[in-house]
């Protein structure tokens, strides 16, 4: 985990991720050690059983940074908004 600048991050949750966590959005300040999406998920899971439940199968969770799909190794960098959601099922 690389060192990054610590700043407020707006998190959004959708569908069953939202339901498991029990909220649709929140603003967090992640520790310096959180550099990538995977880091952020690992840190969120330490925040309580509802996060552990939501991210239990981290491999199925999709992530978007500032409205763009990213993989779990994506750097959070200067992101303002990170969204977590299940595979999409529209159409």
């Amino acid at each position: 985990m690389k060192e990054t600048q610590q700043s407020a991050l707006h998190l959004l949750y959708f569908a069953w991720v939202r339901e498991k966590i029990g909220r649709a959005e929140e603003t967090v300040v992640a520790p310096h050690s959180v550099a990538t999406v995977a880091d952020l998920i690992a840190w969120l899971k330490t925040r309580g059983p509802e996060y552990e439940a939501a991210f239990a199968r981290a491999d199925v969770i999709r992530t978007a940074i500032d409205h763009v799909h990213v993989k779990s190794d994506a750097e959070i960098g200067a992101a303002r908004e990170v969204a977590f959601f299940p595979p999409v099922t529209g159409g």
Binding site: A64, H67, V88, G90, G91
Partner: protein, 152 residues
């Protein structure tokens, strides 16, 4: 080139007229309409609720439509997706692609649907006849449908 995410129903004939009627440069126009069925995976469905990610859903649909326009010469295109609570028989999604020839129009419409199904942040939750509500699982066939569109 338009995308819309809306609660309201749409009228395919009106949308098609607006895009294609009296245009003399269009040879082929394909529409796809997706409807709520009263059955899914052997469960009777009472209703369905569509959740979306405001801002990103529109951005993804615009990206998909723009990508289609780089692959096929499209005279006109449209993507409309509904959100909120829908009953069986109601319309969910509309895609229109217009081109000179039928092959391009068919392929562009299929491309937009395949990518919408894989990339647009929309989620369905269904209420079944026994009162249970369940988030719809994604289908492996949708990933396969998307993967057949190789990069140009």
């Amino acid at each position: 080139m338009t995308v819309r995410v809306q609660k309201e129903d749409f009228n395919v004939g009106d949308e098609l007229s607006r895009l294609c009627r009296d245009r003399t440069d269009i040879g082929a126009c394909v529409t796809f309409t997706g409807l709520v069925r009263n059955e899914n995976a052997n469960h009777t469905i009472l209703d369905m609720t569509l959740e979306h990610y405001p801002g990103m859903t529109e951005a993804e649909l615009e990206r998909i439509e723009a990508e289609a326009a780089t692959r096929w010469p499209l005279q006109a295109s449209l993507i409309v997706h509904r959100v909120g609570k829908l009953l069986p028989g109601e319309q969910i999604v509309l895609v229109i692609a217009a081109s000179l020839h039928r092959q391009a129009a068919f392929e562009a419409a299929q491309f937009m649907m395949d990518f919408l199904k894989s990339d647009a942040p929309l989620w369905k939750k269904e209420t079944r006849a026994d009162g249970e509500t369940e988030w719809v699982s994604c289908r492996d066939s949708d990933a396969a449908a998307k993967s057949r569109w190789k990069s140009p």
